[in-house]
């Protein structure tokens, strides 16, 4: 019984972390699906989302609003503001390089990542800063508090709702369909009158918004942020995207959750010393053995 309980504790802890990875991984995978670029500045978008929410929450806190209201407004502001960042980054760093060799935008992405980190150091601080404890307390979870804390519950529910919304959007909305069409064949989509530039911008905005939600959730959960939090989270999410099959939207979700669970079980049943070894070991193994990931479709190489 105790063993089973422990298993579920680790399971839900892993799901919580995994759902954050999944939210970030979606940004990698959406962008890769459309323009085959690994947007290495994406981890920084997640960090910027948390910082934006912190600033907004700080301002709203002065007016004495209830914390749940502050959280929602701050998260919405972060989503919009960071979406604008995503849009701008694409226009500045990637669009001019669209016809260039594939290495160029990759280098540009790494440059963007370094730029954004330093920008936050200069505009904010290089220290750790506190993020207000905004997640509401849910007394009805008291009984199962050891298995799933209140914050875990809120993170799981929010990220699941976000992912369902994204899936519906991609499947049924006009823009979603255009995104899928562009991902399948950009030339054909162009011929059919889809404005590829608009779709690419849209993809960056959506991907950034998802990362911002992840950033706000984890910052509100842990109560702290700094300029460097995007790096490890970004690498892990990238691993998750590759694990699920980069370019595949359900793949990123599955990859994130699987990675979160693997980490949780490794620490729980083996040792925390090996958490990162496992994650990046998985990345290497997947790249070597099954580059298309769990849900990715094997592409036929046209020679």
């Amino acid at each position: 019984m105790e063993q089973l309980l422990y298993f579920f504790e680790l399971f839900f802890g892993g799901l919580t972390r995994g759902s954050i990875y999944a939210l970030i991984a979606l940004g990698y995978t959406l962008v890769y699906g459309i323009i085959e670029l690994i947007n290495f500045a994406h981890g920084e978008i997640y960090m910027l989302g948390a910082f934006t929410a912190m600033v907004v929450a700080g301002v709203l806190g002065v007016y004495g609003l209830p914390s749940a209201a502050i959280l929602i407004i701050a998260a919405l502001c972060a989503v919009v503001w960071v979406g604008a960042y995503g849009f701008t980054i694409e226009k500045i760093a990637y669009k001019p390089l669209r016809g260039a060799p594939r290495l160029s935008p990759l280098i540009s992405a790494i440059g963007m990542s370094i730029f954004l980190q330093n920008y936050v150091i200069l505009a904010q601080t290089s220290d750790f800063v506190s993020f207000p404890q905004l997640l509401p307390e849910l007394p009805f979870l008291e009984k199962i508090g050891s298995i799933m804390g209140e914050s875990d519950f809120i993170i799981l529910v929010t990220s699941t709702a976000t992912m369902i919304a994204l899936t519906l959007f991609i499947r049924y909305s006009k823009t979603g369909k255009a995104m899928r069409a562009t991902a399948q064949n950009r030339t054909m989509a162009l011929l059919l009158g889809i404005d590829a530039n608009k779709i690419i911008s849209m993809t960056f905005i959506i991907g950034s918004a998802l990362a911002a939600i992840g950033g706000v959730l984890i910052a509100a959960h842990m109560g702290q942020i700094n300029f460097a939090i995007g790096f490890l989270a970004g690498m892990k999410a990238f691993t998750a995207a590759v694990l699920g099959g980069i370019g595949s939207v359900p793949g990123a979700m599955v990859g994130g959750l699987v990675l979160g669970l693997c980490e949780s079980f490794t620490t729980g049943y083996f040792s925390g010393d090996y958490e990162d070894v496992l994650s990046f070991g998985i990345l290497v193994l997947i790249l070597v053995l099954r580059p298309d990931g769990i849900l990715g479709k094997a592409k036929v190489q046209k020679v």
Binding site: Y6, T267, D273
Partner: protein
């Protein structure tokens, strides 16, 4: 042009030859540490402390009838520069050195001093390795070493808290892992080790390891690392309804931790040097800094003040610049300093410096007066 070079060369020779002559008139105290670069904020306050004391003595007529002269060397806290700095101080005629600041730089510098039989007193280097085995009779320090904090924690956990099952978590860094290992060593068989594990301080959360600590039924958690990770760890623990105490080193004792973890920080323990701000010599040191520089002193100022006071006191007691006599005085004579009434034991560690356990109570670190350890 050639003529000018000759004149310059002649000047240089003259300058060199006049140096020993000057040395006879003043007592040169070397001050080595980071005076520029990233860690200058560690090295500048000690330099100021030395200068303030030298000025004070010189105004009163000097020491042993001679004026004190401070000669500074910048090592930027870099080991590769520290050895050069030490050599430079020795050749410039320093009779005793207050420094170095960082542990790595100090390790690199002290062989040079030992070879020249020159005493150095560090205000801030805390690595236990510096005094291990007592092999270097020329090295002293006025700060508790990292193992002392571990001794205090071990004592506190087993006696004060009366805990028997300890979980150790560290951030895999030199400082954090070193602390966790030292506490484990100090506790020995007085309490069981139920878990000893590393975490990545940058991980988004520590949920899994916290659950493992609970599964192992630990009744106290020792964390070796710095405040950002500690803040996440304690938040994770309390949110999972786990209320065992968390004990850590001075890396945790940062007001920022309380801001970040908020109510979850309540009850957390961290050790740090004893609060000596009520001592008259502490107040005097503070007032001197405010008078000269117009602001509050920075980190390591008081330890450096203590080191410099110990140095001048020992020279005064020795009545000469003979290093063996100065060493004897350092070992035997207590001196009133801002960090307490101190002397040094045979290893060169300070006697009379206190370490205290602090606890977060109502959003503030409060010194637990009954959980203090005097070094001896």
């Amino acid at each position: 042009m050639h003529k000018l070079l000759h004149v310059l060369a002649a000047c240089a020779v003259l300058a060199l030859s006049s140096a020993p002559a000057l040395a006879a008139d003043t007592i040169k105290i070397g001050v080595a540490g980071a005076h520029s670069g990233d860690l200058a904020s560690y090295g500048i306050p000690p330099l100021r402390a030395a200068q303030i004391i030298a000025d004070e003595y010189n105004a009163k007529g000097g020491l042993l009838g001679k004026q004190l002269e401070i000669i500074a060397q910048d090592d930027q806290c870099k080991p590769e520069l520290a050895n050069n700095a030490a050599t430079k101080l020795i050749s410039d005629g320093a009779v005793i050195v207050m420094g170095h600041i960082c542990s790595g730089a100090t390790i690199a510098a002290i062989p040079a001093y030992a070879n020249s039989k020159i005493i150095s007193v560090s205000p801030s280097a805390t690595t236990p390795a510096l005094t291990k085995g007592g092999k270097n009779p020329y090295f002293f320090r006025t700060i508790a070493n990292d193992d002392d904090q571990a001794r205090l924690a071990a004592e506190f956990i087993t006696k004060k808290l009366g805990k028997t099952k300890v979980a150790y978590i560290h951030d895999n860094g030199d400082y954090g892992k070193g602390y966790a290992e030292a506490v484990r060593r100090e506790i020995g068989n007085k309490a069981a080790v139920v878990l000893f594990e590393a975490i990545n301080p940058d991980a988004p959360d520590f949920s899994a390891v916290v659950k493992k600590v609970r599964k192992e039924k630990a009744d106290v958690l020792v964390f070796g690392g710095y405040h950002p990770a500690a803040s996440k760890l304690v938040t994770n623990m309390r949110k999972n309804h786990m209320d065992i105490p968390l004990v850590g080193p001075d890396g945790l004792k940062d007001e920022q931790l309380i801001k970040m973890a908020g109510k979850y920080a309540e009850g957390l323990y961290a050790s740090q040097p004893q609060d000596t701000s009520d001592l008259p010599s502490h107040k005097a040191a503070h007032a001197n800094h405010v008078k000269k520089f117009g602001n509050d002193p920075g980190i390591f100022y008081y330890n450096a003040y203590a080191a410099t006071l110990a140095i001048v006191n020992a020279i005064e007691k020795a009545g000469s610049l003979d290093s063996q006599k100065i060493i004897d005085a350092l070992h035997n004579d207590f001196v009133e300093t801002p960090v307490g009434k101190i002397r040094f034991n045979s290893l060169g560690e300070p006697v009379g410096v206190g370490l205290s356990m602090y606890q977060v109570q109502n959003g503030k670190f409060v010194e637990l007066k009954d959980s203090t350890m005097m070094l001896n």
